[in-house]
Assembly symmetry: C2
Homo-oligomer: 179 residues x 2
């Protein structure tokens, strides 16, 4: 009779990789709620769901088809969402030897950087605010003063923030040594 041993190699592979990932009801609900959070911060709904999935799901590395099936979406939607997520550095992928598939994962690992990055980008407000202040009439000294104060505060932050990040990194490596 035909025993498991007789399975073709790639069926075997499929068995191992498609390790029957499933979501509990709790996980599904959490994904939706996190998705809403992301959406409120300017991320398209499906991208938010994928990001959430990669954080909530037991398996931190999922293939294109697993994502597609777990969220019940089309290939095209999966493709374009994943591509912009890769472009915006919110998701990364890994490859495995002898495997053509890509394994997508949340970039939570490098979130510290992407986090500080987005702050840095936010600090870009300084440039245009300075421009606005420069072109302002001198007839509104109080308003101009408050604008200048605002700009100074953001500048202060943009300097102190990286320092804060550095300190945290130091503190953390210290902790790790102690463990």
């Amino acid at each position: 009779m035909q025993e498991p041993k007789i399975l073709k190699k790639n069926q075997d592979l499929k068995e191992r990789n498609m390790t029957n990932v499933q979501l509990t009801q709790e996980q599904r609900e959490l994904i939706e709620r996190m998705g809403v959070f992301y959406e409120q911060h300017g991320i398209p709904p499906m991208e938010g769901r994928i990001m959430s999935l990669l954080i909530v799901c037991d398996e931190p590395e999922l293939t294109f088809d697993q994502i597609r099936e777990l969220l019940g979406i089309s290939k095209s939607t999966t493709s374009s969402a994943l591509n912009t997520l890769l472009l915006t550095q919110r998701v990364i992928y890994k490859t495995r030897p002898g495997d053509r598939k890509r394994y997508f994962a949340s970039n939570i690992v490098e979130w510290q950087e992407s986090f500080t990055d987005s702050f840095q980008k936010f600090f870009g407000v300084i440039k245009i605010m300075k421009e606005a202040l420069d072109q302002r009439t001198s007839k509104t000294p109080e308003f101009n003063r408050q604008m200048a104060e605002f700009i100074e505060f953001i500048e202060y932050l943009s300097i102190e923030f990286p320092r804060l990040y550095q300190e945290w990194c130091n503190r953390n490596t210290q902790n790790n040594k102690n463990n």
Copy 2:
């Protein structure tokens, strides 16, 4: 002959209030560019333009109709945009005795609060992230560790940030004393 004195009272008022605010070409362009910046941060285009207008315009307090005319938009658009701007605390308004109009202004004046507020709101990510971590399988210790680290980082920021703000305030009042 009919001298200015003969003008009706409310025409007179109109003259004073509608102080013929106009925008230079430079200001118009700056408003558009700032608008794009706001748009990239998730604010609807017209709301971004109004916010920019209130920062760029020589007159820091504008009425409903002045905003409408300066931006060349409809009453309904002006109304709904201003209302959500008020709701989201990005714009405030003042009243003047014996004047039914509202005078809208950028909330840059009270940016201290609205700024720390929005950061605080952003730090809300902690709550949902903790939930996600709690429900995770224990079979992915490395992933969980990195998630925990991320959460700790945000928590660290949410504590250090107000401190940074306080320090800046102190430093600033110090400077003001010296002046």
